[in-house]
Every structure is written in C-alpha cells, then in structure tokens.
C-alpha cells in the first residue's frame, strides 16, 4: 500500500544547472501537490512525458529523495522518519541503479539478501526459484559485466526481489529491453500483482500502460492531471485509446500551441 499526500518536490538550481536549463529561476518545481494511493493487488501506472516528475515521485517513495512538502507512507511507514523500514518493504528498479558488474548475479543475490537479514535457507530457495523463473540459472556465476543487457536486467529484477517485498516500484520497466525480455518483465509484474503485491510503474509508452496498468495517473508538468481506471479515463475523455485520451488531457492542460 502506497499513500502519497500532497507531494511537492522543489529542486534548488545551481548556477550551472540554471545555464543548462536556460532559466533565471533559482528553484525548479519538479512535483507539485501530487496525491495518489496504490493498493495491494493492483498495478498503478504513472503516465507522463519526459521531465513530468514521474521519476522524482518514485524516488521520493523509495526514500532516495525527501519531499519538500507532503507525506508519503509505504505499508504504514513514513518515508522520511522510517526510511529503513520502508526500504525493507520495497524494491526499486530503475535504469540508473545497477548491480556491481564485478560480481556474479548469485553473489549479489546473497549480498543483498544478507543486508535484508534473510536466513540462508530461505535465501537459497528464493534464489533457485527466481533464477529458474528468469532463466539465469546457467549464468548465475558469470560476472554481471559479461551478461547481455536483457540478462543484466533480469538479474537486477531477481536481486531486487530477494526480500520478497510488499511493494514493487519500477521506473520505466521495459526501457532499453528487446520485446522478448520486455514481455518477461511485464508478465512477471502481472504475476506479482496476482500474488497481492502493490506495484507502481512509470512509463511514457501508452500501449504498455494500456495493457499493464489497472489504474493510471497522468502527470504533466509536475501535477496530477487525471486519474482512474483505463475505462473510466477513456469514457471521461471520450477517447478511443489511452494515447488519444492522453493527448486530449495534454491539450487541455498545456494549451493547443504547446503541442504543435
């Protein structure tokens, strides 16, 4: 269970950053007043263009960033005050966070299992299960740097699930993967949902969100602009598919001229 209440995240901009962003403002509002709830047994999708604030929101949930305003609770624990407990309940996968390439998938699984305080027997059972499930048993003792991109991603997923987390946070889960690996990942997310896990993913791929997510929140320019199930969003916007619905919302929020 994830509850985000009125999350606002403001970054202070250094002079270098100001020059990069071509702005004179000394602050950038990345997320502004976002509230949402994600429940066990559902996949919640955060949909939005690049720079809308999806990653920032997820990083705040994962305790990597502290909210400027608002509160986030994960399984009843506050992300700021009870960071350790929150980290024990979640797994967070993103492209920028990687496994140490000098070690094998098997070693990393044991290492993170140890950090989560999991006993040896449970650990070896889980390892066997996940490595079989993702087809990495044959490569488990190879150094991660010697694995293919798809294999690396599958190893990262297996390792992130070592502590059987209640909440799965996935930032752009299929980004950079071939369609076969991408399918393995999305299938597995559905499997986890059916086991009653709370899942939140971010994506800018409309077709993926349409097929995968039970509920969708659209984030544009740091604000939550629409939220609901796929069917309710389509009905609300009188649209044929999610992409259509998204553009209608986008036009309404940003104005006609921004799109063209």
């Amino acid at each position: 269970m994830i509850e985000i209440r009125d999350l606002t995240k403001i970054y202070k901009l250094s002079n270098k950053k100001k020059a990069e962003l071509k702005t004179k403002d000394s602050e950038k509002v990345a997320v502004s007043g976002v509230s949402l709830e994600a429940h066990p047994g559902e996949i919640y999708g955060l949909l939005g263009p690049n720079g809308a604030g999806k990653t920032t929101t997820l990083r705040c949930v994962a305790t990597l960033l502290k909210p400027t305003k608002g509160e986030i609770s994960v399984c009843g624990f506050d992300t700021v005050k009870e960071g350790k407990q929150v980290r024990d309940k979640i797994c967070f996968l993103t492209n920028e966070i990687k496994l140490d390439p000098h070690f094998s998938a098997s070693y990393m699984f044991d290492f993170f299992g140890g950090l989560h305080g999991i006993d040896a027997e449970t650990l070896s059972k889980r390892k066997e299960f996940f490595f079989e499930r993702f087809g990495i048993t044959d490569f488990k003792d190879k150094k991660i740097e010697d694995l293919s991109t798809g294999m690396k991603q599958k190893a990262a997923i297996a390792v992130s699930l070592v502590h059987d987390p209640e909440v799965i946070i996935f930032d752009e889960p299929t980004n950079g993967l071939d369609i076969i690996t991408a399918r393995v990942v999305t299938d597995f997310l559905r499997e986890l949902r059916d086991k009653g896990k709370t899942i939140i993913v971010s994506t800018h791929i409309m077709s993926e969100a349409q097929k995968l997510c039970d509920r969708i929140g659209m984030i544009i320019d740091g604000k939550m602009v629409a939220e609901g199930t796929l069917s309710s969003l389509l009905a609300q916007e009188n649209a044929e598919d999610l992409e259509d619905a998204f553009f209608k919302v986008y036009k309404r929020v940003m104005g006609e001229e921004k799109i063209s």
């Binding site: 990083r59 990597l64 960033l65 140490d100 390439p101 993170f112 950090l115």
Partner: protein, 407 residues
C-alpha cells in the same frame, strides 16, 4: 553494524576473488621493487667496478728523478700507465695533450716546473720561490676524475713527504701535535640515516598513492556506474555504508602500502651493494616500535581513505575525482619531502599532531631508534580528529540528495 560487516566482506571479495587484481595490486609491485632496485644496484656496481678496474693513462712532463722513484716505490706505475716526457716535446704538442684529456683519450697530465729540483734545493728563507706542479684533468670524465683522486692521495702525498723528509729530516717536527678523535654514538642510531631519511617519505607516498587509486574507483567509480545507489536502497543506515566502505578500502590500501614498504626494505640491500653504502641498522625493530609504526600507518591510511572518499563522493565521475585529488597528492609529497630534511632536530609536541607531516616525523623518529610515546600519542590524536572530520563529511555527503542524485 551487521550491514557494514557485509559491505566490508563484499569489498574485500571484489579484490581477493579476482586473481588478476591480486596480481596487479599486490604481487606485481613487489616484483617491480626487486627488479628496479636490483637493476639499479647492478648497474651502479658494474659502473663502479669498471671505473676501479680502468688503467689510468698519465703523462708526466719534466719529472725529477726523485719523483720517478716515488712512483715506483708506491707501486703507482703498476696501477697506471705512466709515460714520462720532456718539456720540449710537451711544448711542441701541448694542444694535442690537452685535447686527449678533453676527449677522454688520456686521464691525467702532470707538468713539473722546469727547474723543480733546483728551486726546491735553493729554498732558504721565507719569501723564496717554491717549485710548482700543474695537474690537468677532466672532472666530467669518470676515469679522469678517479685518476686525479688516486694521483693526489697516493703519489702527490708520498712525494711531498719524501721532499719534506729531505728538508727537515724529522717529519714529526712538522706534525707539531696529534689529534685523536672519539665518536660517541648510540649503537641504536648508527647507520639509521639512510632509512630515516627515506622511509617516512616513501611510506607517506606509497600510502597515499595506493589509497588514491583504490578509493577513487570504489567511491566515484561506483557512483558513476550507478552501483552505489543500489546500496542506498538497502534497509541499513548511510553511516553503515560509509563505515563499511572506508574500513574495507583502508584494509586494501594498507595491505598494498605494506607490500610496497616490505619489498622495498627487502630489496634495498640489492641497491646498496651497488652504491657501496654501509649496513642498514634495523635494530629499531622491537615489539613496541613495530606496533607504533603499524598504528601510525593504519591510521594515516584511514585518514587518506576518508579524505579521498569525502572528495570522490562529491565528484560526479572518476575523471573529476582524479582532477580534484591531484593537488592533494602534491601537498602530501611536499609534506613527505619536508621530513627528509628535518631529521634529528627536536620539535615541539604539537608539530607531531599535524596530519601527514607530523606522522612522517614520527615514522622518522621510530626508524632512527628514537621512538617516543609522547610524539606517537600526539600524532594519533591529530589523526583521530582529522579522520572523524572526514568520515563525518563523507556521511553527510552520502545523505545529501544533491550530491548522490544530482537533485
């Protein structure tokens, strides 16, 4: 601190499970040390042997009979190829003689005044003319330099004494008095100059350079590769991560520095044989001095690792980190060099508490058999304070989202 322990284990496994890394970090430097020192020693001794074995080519012009007798009496004519010539043929070929010395074809040219013996015999009162010998050699040529030294100490001295005996009969009249010199030296300090000058500098340098290569990669490199953030998601505190990392890095780089120092000490005799330096006195080695030395080395290493971590974590990649660390390397080298030339003088206690410089002074004291508990404790206190500061700064940086996530 269970998490810190696991991190230490993992960081050590990274090196010790990798044969290639073990070789490049610990075995190759030791081999290199032996090869380099052995090579230097060998080259130097073969150069020295070559110079000693060379037969000097000496030309003596206008030599008086008494001089020729001295040459045979001292056995100089057996060691050097001495040829005698007269003033006339010398004057005719003066330029050629000088050219030979200039170009290393001859080593020494000794020219006696034409009327050497008669002037010597005619001397009666103060102010009378005294005879002269002109000696020409080339001090940029090893052979010529050596020929000059040997001629002076062996032949010229003996000849002077011969003539002095002729003039005064009794040489002791000239001697006037005897000087007896007694050296009062502590046994423990004998032969420590070489080690106490070199070792502190080498230890400081080795510690910093091994800490530098390991830490920059383990902190800035991991940050750049995105593997550090995976650790931030584990249910442990950031301080545990910092402690785990720093302890592991210190173990790795202390080991590497020890490999350097021990192989240097072991390989040193190879070089000294060549240089003809005296015995190195290792009598300072005892249980308490080795403990003090190890304590200083371990703490100094922790200082370097924590300092380098604090800097590396603020850099966005290894390249930036290396750039930031380079000036520190220069400062550390300078501090090491300063101790090379401040040995033997007594210092106020606070100077030993100065990081790096004071630590190197303590190492120097220990190596010269002058270990003192008070200066050791001052150095430990200074180190502990600085380590605490840099560990604090590193932890602070680990907690900063701006530094860790560029947010």
């Amino acid at each position: 601190m269970k998490g810190a322990k696991r991190i230490i284990k993992k960081e050590l496994a990274r090196v010790f499970k990798d044969k290639k890394l073990i070789f490049t970090m610990y075995i190759m430097p030791a081999i290199l040390m032996f090869v380099i020192y052995g090579l230097i020693g060998n080259l130097m001794s073969s150069m020295n042997n070559d110079i000693t074995e060379h037969t000097d080519i000496v030309t003596v012009v206008n030599a008086p009979e008494s001089f020729k007798q001295t040459v045979s009496a001292t056995g100089y004519d057996a060691m050097a190829s001495v040829s005698y010539t007269d003033k006339k043929s010398y004057e005719a070929n003066k330029a050629a003689y000088e050219d030979d010395i200039l170009n290393g074809r001859a080593d020494l040219l000794v020219v006696f005044d034409e009327d050497f013996e008669s002037v010597f015999n005619a001397y009666a009162n103060k102010g009378d003319k005294i005879p002269g010998i002109s000696v020409s050699y080339n001090n940029t040529e090893n052979y010529s330099q050596k020929a000059h030294n040997v001629f002076n100490s062996l032949v010229a001295n003996a000849y002077r004494q011969t003539l002095q005996t002729v003039r005064f009969g009794d040489l002791e009249r000239l001697e006037v008095f005897n000087v007896t010199e007694n050296q009062i030296v502590k046994e423990s300090k004998k032969g420590t100059e070489f080690l106490s000058m070199l070792l502190p500098y080498m230890i400081v340098l080795m510690l910093f350079s091994s800490a530098m290569s390991i830490t920059v990669d383990a902190i800035a490199g991991e940050k750049e590769r995105g593997t550090l953030s995976s650790m931030l998601l584990a249910p442990i505190s950031r301080t545990e991560i910092v402690v785990g990392k720093l302890v592991a890095l210190s173990i790795l780089s202390t080991l590497s520095a020890l490999v350097y120092c021990v192989s240097m000490l072991l390989a040193m005799p190879l070089m000294q044989n060549g240089m003809g330096a005296g015995e190195v006195n290792l009598s300072f080695i005892s249980v308490d001095t080795v403990l003090m030395l190890l304590g200083t080395i371990v703490l100094m290493n922790l200082l370097f690792v924590s300092l380098l971590s604090a800097v590396s974590i603020c850099a966005k990649d290894t390249k930036t980190a290396s750039t930031l660390v380079a000036p520190m390397y220069i400062v550390v080298v300078l501090a090491g060099v300063m101790t090379m030339f401040s040995g033997g003088t007594s210092m106020p206690l606070w100077k030993y508490a100065i990081p790096v410089y004071g630590n190197a002074l303590v190492v120097q004291q220990i190596c010269s058999g002058e270990a003192q508990l008070s200066s050791f404790l001052a150095t430990v206190a200074g180190l502990v304070v600085m380590i605490a500061v840099f560990v604090g700064l590193t932890s602070k940086a680990f907690n900063s989202e701006k530094i860790m996530f560029n947010a």
